[in-house]
Each structure stands twice: as structure tokens, then as C-alpha cells.
Symmetry: C2
Amino acid sequence: MFSGAQISLYPMCDDFVGVILGALSAFDPYRANFRIETDDISTLIVGPPEQLFPAMRDLFALAAASGVHCVLSATVSRGCPGEPDDPICTPISGGSHELPLAARIGAARAHVDAAEKLGQEVAAQFSLYPLGEGHHMDEIYGCIDFLKTSGVFDKSKNFCTKLRGDAGPVFATLSEAFLRFGAPQGHVALDLTVSANSPSLR
Amino acid sequence: MFSGAQISLYPMCDDFVGVILGALSAFDPYRANFRIETDDISTLIVGPPEQLFPAMRDLFALAAASGVHCVLSATVSRGCPGEPDDPICTPISGGSHELPLAARIGAARAHVDAAEKLGQEVAAQFSLYPLGEGHHMDEIYGCIDFLKTSGVFDKSKNFCTKLRGDAGPVFATLSEAFLRFGAPQGHVALDLTVSANSPSLR
């Protein structure tokens, strides 16, 4: 199954190039497992679905540690039938997809509870798109049930759900939403925005 | 049918607040038709589906005219069954959805050919998600056929398609992709990134 993400990092400062280049070392532990390609809009990472959100978490946490208002935006996808299978994208391990929705919600919450805190506060919002099957809203509503008990749920918004909290459990929650909902070998896309150090009022 | 977008504008400069506030006047001609709500991550616009991309175009073109490297990121949606119908979201007019895919591609191209140029070069990439129906890849491939003859097609990338050209025809192409493909009353989402004044090599 092909899985990966198109990632962009936006530091809101004159030295945005310096902040981006300074954060890229966070990818070093993942480079052996990923294919990485960059152009003027985004960086593609292709690799195991379980490692996509940890890699984005580490990249974003390092950029946000600069203190600058930073945003990470990503289009994350697994199982797209338009992409060739890639040998570095391994199947989802321990995905418990054979379980009914309620049991998957419990498994996802346990993973979030075990997530290490990083000491970096973030806000995030995302949309989940389980594609090409008849019951896509059931999976979305099941995922929303999980999010509401994740400990980092902020609020529902039109077209998306907003999270807030430490980067560790926030990215763990995003990863669980991506991995455990929608058909296990199906086509699932996720549209993500994560923000830190914003001067705006909540 | 409920339609709208969650929009974020990212000027990569120390005075990002000034650039954002300076661009907001571009929304003035649309305010009477839209409901607009802002928080620390994004601004929601809810209104007629045909006006969503013109409003985003004018906002982004005004921000980009500052010369600063700017990115607009948006999650655009129509027909989401989880949202209540809103009286300010009118049905798609002249959508020609009764036509077969090949005829819709021709109609979309005619709209793009008629788009006024703004003198602002942009790069854009987006993903289209026609949700909850069996033939979602047919609509995606049909949309890609349209994009390749739009005059602003740049390249296909993993998970998305990249456009490049004047902001006028680029946003017209995005609007046509959103309005003319997927079921007319169906649930369609579009995940968008537009960039201007990037110092990166293509």
C-alpha cells in the first residue's frame, strides 16, 4: 500500500528559509525509511504509514522551538489507487481493523494515552476523507467519537475538527485518526494544519 | 447545499499580521453574500459555491502584491452531509452536471479561457475528493483530463496536481475542478495550497 504526505512548513518571519533549513535535521532518523522529494511548494515523504506523523511531529516541534509563529500544512494519504505500490510503504501493523468501530476507538485512545509529551503547545485542525466506499460518514463519525475523548479535542468546526495540546499527544491523535479509521486497505486522505506560537486570540 | 472554505494566509515575513490585515479588504465585495468567522487557525467563509474561489483569488492576489513570499491554504467543501443546509449557499448554477464527463470538461475549459488575467504569477497544488460514491476515481481522472488542457497545468505529483500561471486562470481552473466534477449534489472536498514570490527553485 502506497502511503505518504506532501508537507509544507511556514515560519512567519523574514528568516523563514533559515528556520526551515534548521528544522530539517529532525528528518534524519527517518531518512533511511523514507523517499523524500522537494519542490517550491512542498516536500513529499513516502514511507511506512505509522512513521508519517512522528516525522511531521519532530519536524514541526523543532521549527516551533525557534519561538517563531510556524504552521505545518500537509496532505496525507494511504492506499490511493492512482499510485503504484511502493516497497518502502509497509502495511499497517497492529491496525486492529478487524475490530468493530467501538473497539478501534478504544485502541486508538490507548495509543494516545501512551504518547510522550514534548513540552510544545500546538493547535491543529484536520479533515479525514475515507474515499470510495459507501459508509464514509460512519467512519468519520466514529473517528469524531474517538477525538472527543482523546484529551486534546478542542472543538468541531465546519469541514474539520480542531485539537489543542502538547505536540506529543496531538500528533499521536492525528496518527490514530489516519491509521485506524476508513477501510484498512482503502483509500484514506487527511488534510492537516498545525500551528504554534500564534499571536491570535483563541 | 452547504458550501464554504476554511482559509489561512501565511505571509513569510516578520510583519505577517500587517500583510494579512492589509489583504482583508479584498473580501469587502463578498461580505454581503458570505458568513465569515475567524479563529487562531483559519477563517471560515460560507456562501455560494461559485464565489468561493473568486474571493480567495482576490484575497491572495492582494497579499502577494506586497512582494512577500505568501501562501494561501484552504479546505473547500460542498454538500457535506454533516453540515446543515444554509440559505446563503445557493445551488450551483449552470453547472451542466447532466452532461457526460467529456462535455463537462469542455465547459470547464471554456470558463478558464474566459478568465481575466491579473498579472500575478502563482503556483498552486490541490487534491480533489469526491466522497461517498462508488466511482470517485472516474471523476478524479476526468478532472485531471480537464486540468491537462487548462493552459495552467504544471505537473502531476503524488496525492495532488500542480498548476502554474497567472492567478486569474489558475483560480478559475481550481473553481471549475471544484464545481463541475463529482456528483452535483454530492459531497466534494478540495485541499488547496497556492504560493507566490517563493525564492525556491522550481
